[in-house]
Amino acid sequence: MAAKAALLREIIRVPDLSWPHVFRVFRRNLLVFGKTWKANLMFNFVEPVLYLWALGFGLGVYVSSINGLSYIEFLAPALIASSAMFSTTYEMTYDSFSRMAFRKTFHGMVATPVSLDDVVMGELLYGTFKGVLYGNVFLLVVALFGLVKSPWALLVFVPLALMVMSFSILSMVWTSIAPNYDSFGYFFTLIISPMFLFAGVFFPVESLPPGIRFLPWLTPLYHAVEAVRPLVLGQITPSIPGHLAWMAAFIALTFRIPMVMVRRRLIQ
């Protein structure tokens, strides 16, 4: 109980952030990304294209329409969101863990005027950057398939940024308590894959049994999909700001947690 209270006290304390230093951490990751992006981009990009083909053109043939859309029109915008989610979560789990626990990159940084809060914030921003980048690359692919129906699609980066920031936070929290690389298997199997399957990417959440229909509402992916899909299809609905607000609130309430958790892991 006392330990929980102490954790809560730390979470509500003002973080020790210096934005110029946060930016240097971000830039360090960007520089490394510049060396490895070719191998990286393919890996994150091929998979959603395969989904698009297999499900959109394959399975889609058997689906007459969903909410008045062809199956591929329904699916493609959502895959923008899910591919962004995957690129961020891979980066903020395996790669962040490698920097934190294996290569001791964090240790090297905090021996300089950079604080540990700066490091974690820099990581979160980098995870966000990467997700937005990959999401937009996939948006381009979707556009090449002729599935972007509206110039509103140019605003897709807004829900994407909010969503991948949320996933950066979630992943970083898991990373901060992960004993080893193997434990990320659980994160993907228990948290990320169920979201991918049930949060409105492949079918409308209204098809879920009534008792569990609220579950997708609790996930950032659902809110992102519900904002990205209308933007890509040009069917602007009044519910979009609500979805954006949900994600913004999620970030505001949780961004401090990974900072505290990483501090607890590293500083003893």
């Binding site: 240097r24 490394v32 290569r103 240790h107 090297g108 905090v110 021996a111 005027p113 500083i267």
Partner: protein, 316 residues
């Protein structure tokens, strides 16, 4: 003399385990100050508290006159840290590693380039500047880690086991550079369990054992105070040791059993060796092995603890 680091009753606990037990020391500007002891003696805990990586449990710790708890960023901007394990960016080149690190100190682009160039020359890494760090040998990585710690022209250079794991040649290269930095007036705090490293580089040192300071002074002073000039190692049956040495008290400064051997410390080793041999002959005691050698800091540690720096390393 200006104090760069000052520790008073410094304590560090990890849960129930006390790593540092209320120690006092000062590091003065321009000196190389050593923390010598086996692994687990508390050296790294002290160093981590100094650069703000580990909170002080109790007592006072000031660096540049600032409390380590409150002035962390300010202190760190004036420190250079060479950690025990390399934490370079393996995907980046040697030069990029320096430039990225300069960024953490918010050095301007021009200044960072100039300093990086100087450091590459100083550390003899200029021809490797474009090489990706992943492809470097351990010795080169260490040199880069040391060079990286100089990017902000630190007023205090913290060296945590700087040559552990290096081959003798690579180690000597690092020592040469450290000696040059010392000549240029850089204040250094060195932790090591290599007594040779401590005697080569440090003006003053403390010997740590299980979180406490056993002794403090210059390497020469400590050797002189505790073990004299020479050590005579003898392989002799434990039951006959008393008999062999009786009557030689004026020559024996201290003695310790070390495994099967007896080590006798003396200011007049040659004379001692002669008389021990004579006694052994006349008493019919067999000396399977004997060796006279100069004493070193290891002997001080041995005399004070009955353990060797390396030996006790394994059980801690």
């Amino acid at each position: 003399m200006e104090k760069i680091v000052s520790a008073r009753n410094l304590v560090k606990n990890f849960g129930d385990f006390t790593a540092v037990r209320g120690i006092n020391f000062e590091v003065r500007r321009g000196e190389c100050f050593g923390l010598l002891g086996p692994n687990g003696a508390g050296k790294s805990s002290i160093v981590k508290m100094i650069y703000g990586f580990s909170p002080v449990t109790s007592g006072e710790l000031e660096v540049f006159g600032l409390d380590v708890g409150s002035g962390s960023r300010k202190i760190k901007s004036r420190l250079g840290v060479v950690p025990q394990e390399d934490n370079l960016d393996p995907e980046l080149s040697v030069r990029e590693n320096l430039l990225v690190y300069a960024g953490y100190f918010r050095l301007g682009k021009e200044l960072a380039r100039t300093r990086a160039g100087e450091i590459l020359d100083f550390m003899d890494l200029a021809d490797k500047a474009g090489e990706v760090v992943d492809h470097l040998s351990g010795g080169l990585k260490r040199r880069l880690t040391l060079g990286r710690a100089l990017i902000n022209r630190p007023e205090l250079l913290i060296l945590d086991e700087p040559t552990t794991g290096l081959d003798p040649y690579a180690r000597h290269l690092v020592w040469q550079r450290l000696r040059r930095l010392k000549e240029a007036g850089t204040t250094m705090l060195l932790t090591t369990h290599y007594l040779e490293e401590a005697s080569q580089l440090c003006e003053r040192l403390i010997i740590l054992h299980r979180g406490e300071i056993l002794e403090a002074g210059s390497p020469v002073e400590l050797i002189d105070r505790h073990v004299g000039k020479e050590a005579l190692e003898l392989a002799v049956d434990p039951g006959q040791r008393e008999l062999l040495l009786s009557g030689l008290d004026d020559l024996v400064k201290a003695r310790r059993d070390l495994g099967d051997d007896l080590v006798v410390f003396s200011q007049r080793g040659r004379e001692l060796a002669g008389r021990v041999t004579a006694r052994a002959d006349s008493l019919g005691i067999s000396l399977n092995y004997q060796r006279l050698r100069p004493t070193n800091l290891e002997d001080v540690f041995l005399k004070l603890t009955g353990e060797t720096l390396q030996g006790s390393r394994e059980d801690s």
